[in-house]
């Protein structure tokens, strides 16, 4: 994975706005390489976000999520300094993750 993951969480009103950029080829299984062979499916299929240790978002994805996936979500009642973690698993069992703390608005 060339590009590192990125995350930003910032208070907006009474909610934390979280934006995540992951690094993954998200191969659909329909693309052909330069030899004309199909590139096998390789995609993030599960993403879990936690807020101070509690799961807030449990996402299941298909190969139709764009390459280097973007994910934005909001947590009501969060406060500046709260801890956010993201962890993903792809269809080959590879994993990745990142964490941050919520910044004040």
């Amino acid at each position: 994975m060339a590009e590192p993951m990125k995350i930003r969480a910032k208070m907006e009103g009474d909610a934390a706005d979280v934006k995540v950029l992951m690094s993954h080829p998200m191969e659909t299984g329909q693309r052909k390489n330069e030899k004309g062979e199909l590139v096998p499916r390789h995609f993030i299929q599960s993403v879990i976000a936690t807020h101070n240790g509690k799961i807030v978002l449990d996402a299941q994805w298909s190969q139709a999520i764009a390459r280097n996936p973007f994910l934005g979500f909001r947590i009501k009642g969060a406060r500046a300094g709260d801890k956010i973690t993201i962890s993903w698993t792809d269809n080959k069992g590879d994993k990745g993750g990142i964490d941050t703390t919520v910044a004040a608005s």
Binding site: Q30, V56, D58, S62, Q63, A66, L71, R74
Partner: protein, 152 residues
């Protein structure tokens, strides 16, 4: 002696079972993958796999997506549900080879809001399916695609 060995075997079997039980409990934190839904090649089948029945059109679901996407490989889609107690949002691209693109389950204060980028093979309706208090609601928006983004 034999009796002792038997007891020991039973005990270790019990310990092993308890161990696997724990492992499964850990995995259960993540929702079981909706394989049938993600392998469906038609929207109707994907909706069935999601357990959707009697879904109502709702104006309380807002889909933000471009009217025309020049590059189908990166189509920004945001879904906001103003329906109370929104539990999950699924995004379905009707004309994609596999229409169900994603399901997002919310808990512990997460708002009914999600923003992501999708691949779209061709011009299609993008449908959001919201589950709230066990009921299903939908909304759709057409996105015209200039260059498809599945084989690229």
């Amino acid at each position: 002696m034999n009796q002792l060995r038997r007891t020991f075997l039973k005990l270790s079997a019990a310990v092993f079972a308890a161990g696997t039980g724990l492992l499964q409990a850990g995995q259960a934190l993540a929702a079981a993958r909706n394989k049938a839904g993600f392998e469906s090649k038609a929207t109707a089948d994907a909706l069935k796999a999601l357990g959707v029945s009697g879904a109502q059109q709702s104006k309380d679901i807002v889909i933000t997506a471009p009217d025309i996407a020049e590059n189908g490989a990166q189509v920004a889609v945001t879904v906001t549900s103003k329906i109370a107690n929104t539990q999950s949002i699924s995004i379905v691209v009707d004309k994609n080879p596999f229409p169900l693109t994603s399901s997002f389950d919310f808990a512990n204060g997460a708002e009914g809001y999600v923003s992501t980028r999708l691949k779209m093979e061709q011009t299609s309706n993008v449908m959001a399916v919201v589950k709230a208090d066990g009921n299903f609601f939908t909304a759709s928006k057409e996105v015209k695609v200039t260059i498809g983004g599945c084989g690229g």
